[in-house]
């Protein structure tokens, strides 16, 4: 089974259990916060006077445990990280918003979820905080239009993780964060001893063993590492509807049965489909791309494709379709396998490559002459100049070819709309 469960990525009226599951998650969340003391504003505020660092301890224990388990599950191939919501990075709005939240925290004594735990247990100040929260959310909605460009574009890095920032594998980052958390706990206890006059000898011995266990688990995560592309590819599945029934194919089956190779005519028609967001990825070397390419195709040479996957994933929408293009099919098939392994949705490749495209649309172009070449992945046509997409058949006439016929192979599989996830 693949996690996260596809039917639970979002709530949906067609599956009422989704509401129940998210409700139970919320219940457990509220319960945990209350029992940790987060319904009491004084306990929360004490964090900022170094007398009681419960906030830091609970938060970082939570992060360290959840992170170790999550990346352990990713490393074991149980969890598909590309389907896990990762908050998008906006540097200036995040920084300023964070600072404002900090001021709200120390003045109000709560953060939004802890105020729920407080208000629901009869704390009047918690209720006032919740009420103020509604006003704050209202004010933001009404004032966002004055800085909407800054808010939506400034310092935007998409789905950026600490792994990308430091260029380290996930397991190593997990280990480092756990070490940092354990060091912070040690420091927090020293501060509580100094400022809060806490007797550390009364703290349970068990916490030392728990810290050791957490460290060993994180070390394990670092040693397992992330699953390789081949491992991910062997688990990839392609869903198709055949006679109104959903059928699941492995990626290799889909390739062998030619479910993902679309003919030039279908690509041509898809370019005019307003309902989908088509991205044509030309994976040939730049020289070939400059010589000739389909208008609108972007050039990511095959060796660089892997580096572009995070940005492709970050910008993919529910109606995105990707078509990989090379001169024939060999290079495109390799690129297709890589993209499918990394869970990019709706990836196809051009059947017969550009040689086939020119054979269909470029027959009448006097500038393009057929070449006798039997080598794979080589253009079978000669071009008078590197005109790129300025040849007629780089953008075939939509009126002339309106009635072109083909058997459609594209079936849009709706995956998570990345803009809908998260707290935002």
């Amino acid at each position: 089974m693949n996690f996260p469960l596809p039917s639970f990525l979002a709530v949906s009226a067609s599956n009422p259990w989704t509401y129940v599951l998210f409700g139970v998650i919320g219940f457990a969340f509220g319960f945990t916060l209350e029992m940790s003391g987060f319904g009491n504003s004084r306990k929360l505020a004490a964090q900022f006077y170094f007398t009681d660092l419960t906030v830091l301890k609970v938060m970082f224990t939570g992060i360290a445990v959840a992170m170790t388990l999550t990346f352990g599950a990713v490393g074991l191939g149980l969890l598909d990280f590309s389907q896990v919501w990762v908050n998008l990075t906006y540097v200036p709005s995040g920084l300023l918003g964070g600072l404002i939240m900090g001021v709200g925290f120390i003045i109000g004594g709560f953060c939004p979820t802890t105020s729920l735990a407080s208000a629901s247990t009869g704390k009047i100040d918690g209720m006032f905080f919740v009420g103020g929260g509604f006003v704050g959310a209202f004010l933001f909605g009404e004032t966002e239009k004055y800085f909407t460009n800054w808010y939506n574009n400034a310092g935007y890095y998409g789905r950026l993780t600490l792994m990308d920032v430091f260029g380290l594998p996930a397991g190593v980052i997990v280990l480092l964060v756990v070490c940092m958390a354990l060091f912070m706990f040690w420091g927090a206890e020293q501060l509580e001893h100094i400022f809060g006059k806490k007797d550390l000898s009364k703290e349970p011995k068990l916490r030392i063993y728990a810290a050791g266990t957490l460290f060993l688990l994180a070390l394990g995560v670092a040693l397992i590492g992330s699953p390789s592309t081949d491992q991910k590819y062997s688990k990839a599945t392609i869903l198709r509807t055949v006679d109104d029934k959903p059928v699941k194919y492995s990626a290799d089956e889909a390739l062998a049965q030619r479910l993902v190779q679309i003919v030039p005519a279908e690509l041509f028609k898809t370019r005019y489909d307003q309902k989908v967001r088509l991205t044509m990825i030309d994976v040939r070397p730049e020289a070939d791309y400059n010589l000739f390419h389909i208008r609108g195709a972007i050039n990511i040479p095959a060796p660089q494709l892997k580096a572009h996957i995070p940005s492709l994933l970050a910008t993919s929408a529910a109606n995105s379709i990707y078509v990989v293009i090379s001169n024939d099919e060999t290079l495109a098939t390799q690129a297709w396998k890589l993209l499918v392994a990394e869970s990019l949705p709706n990836v196809y490749l051009l059947e017969g490559g550009l040689n086939n495209w020119i054979a269909v649309f470029g027959k009448t172009d006097p500038q393009i002459q057929p070449l006798a070449s039997s080598l794979d992945e080589q253009l079978k046509y000669s071009f008078p100049a590197a005109l790129g997409d300025r040849y007629t058949c780089a953008d075939p006439d939509p009126i002339e070819n309106e009635k072109i016929e083909f058997t459609p192979r594209i079936q849009l599989q709706l995956k998570r709309d990345k803009s809908g996830g998260g707290c935002g």
Binding site: L9, V84, L88, G104, T121, G136
Partner: protein, 185 residues
């Protein structure tokens, strides 16, 4: 004659003896497991400030749908025939309310009171809690998530922006803490 229930007597649902809070590392471990299960099963983490915004958008959509359609921020959630409260964060929000109430009641902490420092009046505390709520949610929407959605969830998924926001929250609070110390100590 009825006496006010003390903490040692057991009287009904709201008179249960008050228990101490759990140890922070234990609470944190449970929190981590809950957060992991949320990410593992649904791909979404935890959150709550998004629900506040969506509830506000819902009310505005009921009062003035035309205004919603002209406000870019609300348009994304409630524009046209979009239903702002059809989102996973809404059941999480109400679940958290019920969960907090359940824990508080079981451990004898559910009662009408104000949690505050010893040197501040109830009214002043309420006013500042309200102001803090306004500021916090304004900041949370600007940062696209609060302590739960950004710091906790984004921290776990190792989102770079979330770590930045987490330090900004602590930084903002520590920077101002000295000036409002009379409120808490």
């Amino acid at each position: 004659m009825m006496t006010v229930s003390t903490n040692t007597e057991k009287k009904g649902l709201f008179g249960r003896p008050e228990k101490p809070y759990v140890h922070p590392y234990f609470g944190g471990t449970v929190l981590g497991i809950v957060l992991f299960l949320a990410l593992f099963l649904t791909g979404n983490g935890l959150g709550s400030s998004g629900a506040t915004t969506r509830l506000v958008a819902q009310v505005e959509d009921l009062i003035s749908p035309a205004h919603v359609d002209q406000t870019p921020y609300l348009l994304k959630m409630a524009g046209g025939d979009k239903n702002p409260i059809d989102d996973w964060i809404i059941p999480v929000f109400f679940g958290a309310l019920i969960g907090g109430f359940t824990s508080g009641t079981i451990f004898g902490r559910t009662r009408l009171e104000t949690t505050k420092g010893p040197n501040v009046s109830d009214r002043k505390r309420w006013l500042l809690a309200f102001l803090g709520g306004v500021l916090f949610l304004y900041g949370a929407r600007m940062a696209r998530g609060c302590t739960s959605g950004q710091a906790l969830t984004g921290g776990t998924t190792l989102a770079a922006g979330s770590w930045l926001i987490m330090f900004a929250i602590f930084g903002g609070a520590y920077a101002v803490a000295y000036f409002v110390r009379k409120m808490w100590n």
